[in-house]
């Protein structure tokens, strides 16, 4: 019973944290291009961009 005093708020906090993160990613438009994001992860050798003046 005593464990609940800590565990319930902890579970609540973690859950709300995850929900907050989800809403942030949604507002950040991270779900607009799922196909692109899926292949972008495989891009590796980005040649360094020439210095701009």
């Amino acid at each position: 019973m005593n464990a609940l005093v800590f565990l319930v708020p902890a579970a609540l906090f973690l859950g709300l944290l995850a929900l907050g993160l989800f809403l942030w990613t949604l507002r950040n438009r991270q779900y607009e291009d799922l196909d692109g994001a899926a292949s972008r992860i495989l891009f590796d050798d980005q040649p360094p961009k020439e210095s701009r003046r």
């Binding site: 019973m1 859950g15 607009e32 291009d33 692109g36 891009f43 980005q46």
Partner: protein, 785 residues
């Protein structure tokens, strides 16, 4: 294994297999590494940038990356926007993006330009966002770079934006996230109550209130999409599936609250929230699939969107958007250009009016006669005096007509709503009877009587039923999308499945819609090759057809184009009869002559030929049990020939747009459900009036925007497959509905008698949903065959 082999293939690109090293198309014998000059230039560009790794990753279809013969006629510099920090930005629609490799290539190629600050491609929306330092004129060079790589580009139009920006879709995803979060946390607490038989009274009360703490806001916020739709249904006096969902969820929540207050054995917040999460997941998938189809249609439309050449008083020309042209302005219409606006010309012009009237032969039009927007200039360049701005021209009035016809189509009732109309009252009656039976009949308190009543609501509730149809639709629309059939409207599949009569247009639908070389027996191949070399770089439709017939012809330098007559290279001439010095009275405008020194002129005849798959498609449609007919604006001879060649049956020639619309209306009144297939501006009204409509990818923008289905692939062969897929989908949807109802035969009596606990309800709901979804997935599998 594959991964190991790929770089080796890239090192010797295509040589052993005779594939073009850039676009991957099959090479004709005698061609070196590339299928055309565009590809050779694109490959050199990619290699020069050090980006050859692209070819190892490319997954697109062969030939998709072949650079266009004619660069885009849009002035991109005029579209660049100056940003507040001194940079310029530009959004482009990029067609031909097939995989991540294309995204990588474009972004890297643009990033190599020193002044580009940002280049980002959205693969889903096909949108390239560019930002660079310097002046707006750089837009031309940067857009040209993408075009030279083999991608087709167009300005990012408002229609593209509308297809991409999806506020309702975002709200659905937000609701899904909230529902998923809420249901997980409520489940956490509920499981404790289900297994904690030895739990004390106070602990259980704490658990109930914790569940309410999560459950109530979740139900209120995440259920909004359903409540809104249910409210509309009530106001218009109809029952729909969302009404059943809303009532089920809200009643369950109210009952759970009452159970929490009196500290009953179980609350049902988990059922209500899990139901919402599942249904929202189905909606999000459904919407995502349709959005993809809408974006693909917008992409096709954007490629047709062009600017026009406005003639300024000082004699120069400037590219301006169509919308900004006013009546009285003068436009330059180049050879091969499509007329965007109505107007009159001061000289005789030769126009291909197949899109507006369906005639397959070009027509000579006297000076001063009104010219309709939509025709293609087959003769020399001329000046068009605009008689009506875009918003009150013939295209706009047609769009109005289409809009009116489409409003009538809103009456179609989908199978899910049909089922809901009689199902919803029954389950509500059952729930009410259960409540009264327990309360008044058995004599328990009203709070206790609420439990079995609401349990019967949530058990019948529609989980299986509400996703029975959408799940099938998602699977089918996705499978069709991969085959190149774009399903733009929500009820299109159901309407397609019930179609029993096909009305086909001829020009552009059964035929290619552009002139093609007639392969005559005595055709001189070497002469064709020489003629095609000459035709390189000309925008005249016949020259382009010549080039299509012989794509590997080498490029010739020093070709001079005589507008409206032909091409000249030294003493060699390619062009009309009079240009080549031949006496010819019946010049149909569909013949080119090649006149070489010391040789008799050779004629190349062109015709708008039937698609190679036309006869097969018609036969397949007839095998599917649909009756077919041909309805064309072309002359009787050509229509009869096409009807005979394809075995289509009844035909009608010289049909005006109004005739076509009237024919469709007559068919509908006879109780037929016509499928209209057309591509032209003259078909638009008929397309909108028909039970269901389709247009090929080569169709005009107005026909595509009006159609329920757009066949993106080449030809019509996807159409019978789409009908088969739609019928299969309809069958599966009915199976799913029948299955969900059968489930209730067992579940409802158990719920009414009070045997169902939240645990059982959760199991019933999950298992019925899984079975329905698995059944729906069969649609995707079989449509792919």
């Amino acid at each position: 294994m594959n991964a190991l082999l790929r770089p080796v293939e890239a090192a010797s690109p295509g040589v052993s297999r005779a594939r073009c090293a850039h676009c991957g198309a099959d090479l004709a014998p005698g061609q070196g590494e590339f299928c055309c000059h565009g590809c050779a230039a694109a490959h050199a560009l990619v290699r020069g940038l050090g980006l050859t790794a692209f070819y190892a990753r490319l997954e697109g279809a062969a030939g998709a990356l072949r650079p266009a013969e004619v660069p885009p006629a849009v002035d991109f510099a005029a579209l660049a926007r100056a940003e507040s920090d001194g940079t310029q930005s530009l959004d482009l629609m990029v067609s031909g993006l097939s995989c991540g490799a294309c995204v990588w290539l474009i972004e890297q190629a643009l990033a190599a330009e020193p002044d580009v600050v940002r280049a980002r491609v959205n693969l889903t929306a096909r949108r390239l966002s560019l930002r660079w330092r310097g002046d707006a004129d750089r837009a031309r060079a940067l857009a040209g770079l993408v075009a030279r790589l083999g991608f087709r580009i167009a300005p990012w139009s408002p229609a593209c934006l509308r297809a991409t920006e999806d506020e309702e879709g975002r709200q659905l995803i937000r609701a899904l996230g909230i529902a998923a979060f809420g249901s997980m946390n409520v489940m956490l607490v509920s499981v404790a109550v289900w297994v904690g038989g030895d739990m004390g009274e106070h602990t259980r009360a704490l658990m109930h209130w914790l569940a309410a703490l999560f459950g109530l806001p979740t139900v209120l916020v995440a259920g909004m999409p359903f409540y809104r739709s249910a409210w509309h249904a009530i106001r218009s006096g109809r029952g729909n599936m969302d009404l059943a969902v809303s009532l089920g969820v809200l009643a369950t929540t109210a009952m759970s609250l009452s159970e929490a207050i009196r500290n009953g054995p179980y609350t049902w917040f988990d059922g209500a929230t899990a139901l919402l999460a599942l249904l929202l997941a189905g909606r999000v998938l459904d919407r995502g699939m349709r959005r993809r189809a809408r974006q693909a249609v917008a992409e096709l439309l954007a490629l047709q969107d062009g600017s026009v050449e406005l003639r300024l008083p000082d004699g120069s020309t400037r590219a301006v958007p169509v919308g900004s042209v006013l009546a009285g302005d003068r436009l330059l219409v180049a050879t091969g250009d499509r007329l965007r606006l109505d107007g009159v010309a001061a000289q005789e012009v030769l126009l291909d009016t197949s899109a507006t009237t369906g005639e397959s032969l070009p027509r000579r039009i006297e000076p001063g006669e009104p010219l309709m927007a939509g025709a293609v200039n087959m003769g020399s360049a001329f000046t068009l005096r605009v008689t009506a701005a875009a918003k009150d021209g013939s295209l706009a009035s047609l769009a109005l007509l289409v809009e009116k016809a489409e409003q009538g189509r809103g009456r179609f009732v989908s199978i899910a709503d049909k089922a809901a109309r009689w199902y919803v009252p029954i389950i509500h009656a059952v729930a009410a009877m259960t409540f009264l039976g327990w309360w008044l009949g058995v004599g328990v308190t009203w709070q206790a009587a609420l439990v079995p009543a609401v349990a019967s609501l949530i058990v019948t509730c529609p989980c299986g039923l509400a996703i029975a149809v959408p799940a099938v639709q998602v699977a089918t629309v996705g499978a069709l999308f991969r085959r190149g059939v774009l399903v733009a409207s929500a009820t299109a599949l159901e309407r397609l499945a019930s179609a029993d009569h096909v009305v086909l247009d001829k020009t552009g639908t059964l035929t290619m819609g552009h002139p093609a070389l007639v392969e005559e027996p005595g055709l001189d191949r070497a002469a064709l090759r020489r003629a095609a070399s000459l035709a390189h770089g000309s925008r005249h439709p016949l020259a382009q057809a010549l080039l299509r017939a012989c794509p590997d012809a080498p490029l010739l330098d020093g070709v001079e184009e005589v507008p409206g007559s032909g091409l000249r290279h030294g003493a060699t001439r390619l062009g009309s009869a009079s240009f080549c010095g031949i006496e010819c009275h019946a010049d149909s405008g569909m013949t080119l002559y090649l006149a070489e020194e010391g040789a008799a002129p050779i004629a190349f005849r062109f015709a708008d030929e039937l698609r190679p798959d036309a006869a097969r498609v018609v036969r397949e449609l007839q095998e599917l049990g649909l009756t077919t007919e041909l309805l064309s604006g072309d002359g009787a001879g050509a229509v009869e020939d096409a009807a005979a060649a394809t075995g289509i049956g009844p035909w009608q020639a010289r049909a005006t747009p109004a005739d076509k619309a009237a024919r469709i209306e007559a068919l509908c009144q006879q109780g037929k459900r016509p499928l209209m297939v057309g591509d032209g501006i003259n078909d638009a009204a008929a397309l909108a009036l028909a039970h269901v409509s389709a247009s090929p990818a080569t169709g005009t923008d107005i026909a595509q925007a009006t159609s329920d289905l757009v066949l993106r692939g080449d030809g019509l062969s996807a159409l019978p497959a789409a009908i088969r897929a739609a019928r299969k989908a309809q069958l599966l949807a009915k199976q799913n509905i029948a299955f969900s109802l059968a489930y209730n035969v067992v579940a409802v009596p158990a719920a009414v008698l009070g045997f169902v606990t939240p645990l059982i309800a959760a199991l019933v709901m999950a298992s019925s949903s899984i079975i329905v979804i698995l059944n729906a997935l069969r649609a995707g599998k079989e449509a792919r065959l």
